[in-house]
């Protein structure tokens, strides 16, 4: 549903964090990040239901992934170089430890894992996969790099009892 949104996120909207936080610095605790994410999820689910909330998380993750890729990753590198740079950058920002399990560049089919994931690692068991935002984030990154739409599905999650989040990442036909 189209709305008359007054806000259209761009990377520059994140502001100059170093300038604004000369004493506290550019980092914060994972706890704070999760506090915001899961309270927001709670409220959204109450207002919109779980399904719509998941959609919103995937969509916002997608936007974040696309902007992150455009502004923090070198998209001119070949695939191996790109993955190496992406892995290093995700670690640098404390987002997670990305690993490639399988990669078939020809068919645009990948299996990726994220350990020590910012969103879910260490969460109590709930029987629910929480990484909708990550699914969107990975899809946004991959689309920005390749120009191809991707279907990203989380098949393992800490929330469902696994110890690493595993995603199947499949390019859709152009």
């Amino acid at each position: 549903m189209e709305t008359n949104s007054k806000y259209n996120f761009e990377w520059k909207d994140l502001g100059n964090i170093a300038l604004g936080r000369p004493n506290l610095g550019t980092s914060t605790h994972v706890l704070v990040y999760r506090l915001m994410q899961y309270t927001m999820r709670d409220v959204l689910e109450k207002h919109l239901g779980p399904e719509k909330t998941n959609e919103i998380f995937v969509e916002s993750g997608y936007k974040a992934g696309a902007e992150f890729c455009k502004n923090a990753i070198d998209c001119t590198l070949d695939f191996d170089g790109f993955m190496a740079h992406l892995t290093a950058t995700l670690e640098k920002f404390g987002i997670g430890i990305l690993r490639v399990e399988k990669a078939d560049v020809g068919t645009m089919s990948f299996v990726l894992t994220v350990s020590e994931d910012l969103d879910c690692s260490g969460l109590p068991y709930s029987g629910v996969a929480f990484c909708d935002y990550d699914e969107g984030f990975i899809a946004g990154i991959m689309h920005t790099y390749t120009g191809v739409d991707f279907k990203v599905k989380e098949v393992d999650c800490w929330g469902t009892g696994e110890r690493t989040c595993r995603f199947t990442v499949d390019g859709q036909s152009r």
């Binding site: 399988k102 996969a129 393992d156 469902t160």
Partner: protein
């Protein structure tokens, strides 16, 4: 006779024992039996259901672990993310790590020595050392490859040098010696005209020899890195006119028109001596490979903020694609005689390229057989 409760208890005990014995399918059959035979109110269906779920998960775990233990990492990923199978969570993590290790190995095989293994303790330490040594080996191999290429080039240059000494320098000398021998032995019987013709031929041989020696000397100095490089700013057109005056003679004799079409105000920054050698060699070549009645034009394209591109164009015999490809290769014999048998070694072009590259410029050629050739080179604007 045992009560139903006692029978159920015994059957459940049998299920547990069967499970401990690793016979999961039989354990599941026993559960089927309990559900089929006994009163639901007696055996607690929820308990039996949970037991069945546990056995199924245990069975899945055994299949999964068995596949990993046998090195079958292609075992399909679970399709349902909500399997709630705690029993295999750690094995999935191991599966993931092994898959990643496999992928890393594939990357290393492809030459990516930046990979770092980060699990399996001592294995990763040893493995990372192996990658480091492979990386060092690759660096050394690259250095050796580069040095071999440099040595091959040096060897080719040496061969070229000796080839010029052996053939190109010898032939004009032979002619020169022949003429002097005739003059010494038969001068008293020669007419004045015959002596003049011989002297002219001797001069021609001497000029060719001198030019060749001049190029050899300059090339040798350049190879040894002792060539002086002193760029200055000068007007292009008068400098080219000076150069053309020195090599006009063969063009006049062949009936070739030389045109200096350079803009009057064009200025360049270059080492004058090297620049003269480039113009001299390119125009001499153009004259050699152009038949009488043709013309050779020297022009320049001046665009503000860009290097000046100078072109030496002729209407001569041109070159084939194959000749062009080999033109600047010192390890390939590229010399051919001019339209009137003028000697040519190919050394002049190599010298031109080296001089131009020393200025940071480029030399390129366009040619079509029987239509003509254009050599373009760039120098910095004044």
């Amino acid at each position: 006779m045992l009560s139903q409760e006692e029978n159920i208890f015994n059957d459940l005990n049998q299920v547990t024992l069967t499970l401990i014995g690793g016979k999961m399918d039989i354990a599941l059959e026993l559960l089927d039996h309990i559900e089929a035979v006994y009163d639901r109110q007696k055996y607690n269906p929820e308990f039996v259901g949970n037991l069945r779920k546990f056995i199924s998960q245990y069975k899945d775990g055994a299949v999964f672990l068995n596949a990993i233990a046998n090195g079958n990492l292609d075992i399909p990923l679970p399709e349902d993310p909500l399997r709630e199978n705690y029993l295999i969570a750690e094995y999935k993590q191991l599966h993931s790590n092994l898959n990643h290790l496999t992928w890393q190995m594939q990357q290393i095989v492809r030459g990516d020595f930046q990979q770092k293994v980060r699990f399996l303790g001592e294995f990763s330490v040893a493995f990372n050392k192996l990658i480091d040594s492979l990386r060092e080996k690759q660096i050394l191999e690259d250095q050796v490859r580069l040095q071999v290429a440099q040595l091959q080039n040096l060897n080719a240059e040496k061969d070229k040098f000796f080839s010029i000494i052996a053939h190109d320098l010898r032939n004009p000398f032979n002619a020169f010696l022949g003429f002097t021998e005739i003059m010494v032995e038969e001068i008293s019987s020669l007419t004045t005209d015959e002596i003049r013709i011989m002297a002219e031929n001797m001069r021609k041989s001497a000029v060719n020899l001198y030019r060749l020696l001049e190029n050899l000397l300059e090339w040798s100095l350049l190879q040894r890195g002792v060539t002086k490089f002193s760029p200055t700013t000068f007007l292009l057109k008068p400098k080219v006119t000076e150069c053309l005056a020195l090599i006009l003679d063969p063009a006049l004799k062949k009936g070739i028109e030389i045109i200096n079409d350079i803009p009057d105000d064009a200025e360049v920054v270059a080492d004058v001596h090297m620049f003269e050698a480039v113009i001299r060699n390119l125009v001499s070549n153009a004259i050699k490979f152009t038949r009488g009645g043709g013309h050779v034009t020297v022009s320049a394209r001046v665009i503000p903020g860009q290097p000046v591109e100078i072109a030496v164009a002729d209407t001569g015999i041109g070159m084939s694609r194959e000749m062009i490809d080999q033109l600047f290769r010192i390890d390939v014999q590229t010399s051919r005689r001019g339209t009137e048998g003028e000697p040519s070694t190919g050394l002049g072009l190599i010298l031109c390229r080296d001089f131009i590259e020393k200025h940071g410029g480029t030399l390129r050629v366009e040619s079509e057989e029987n239509k003509g050739t254009v050599f373009y080179f760039t120098v910095n604007p004044g």
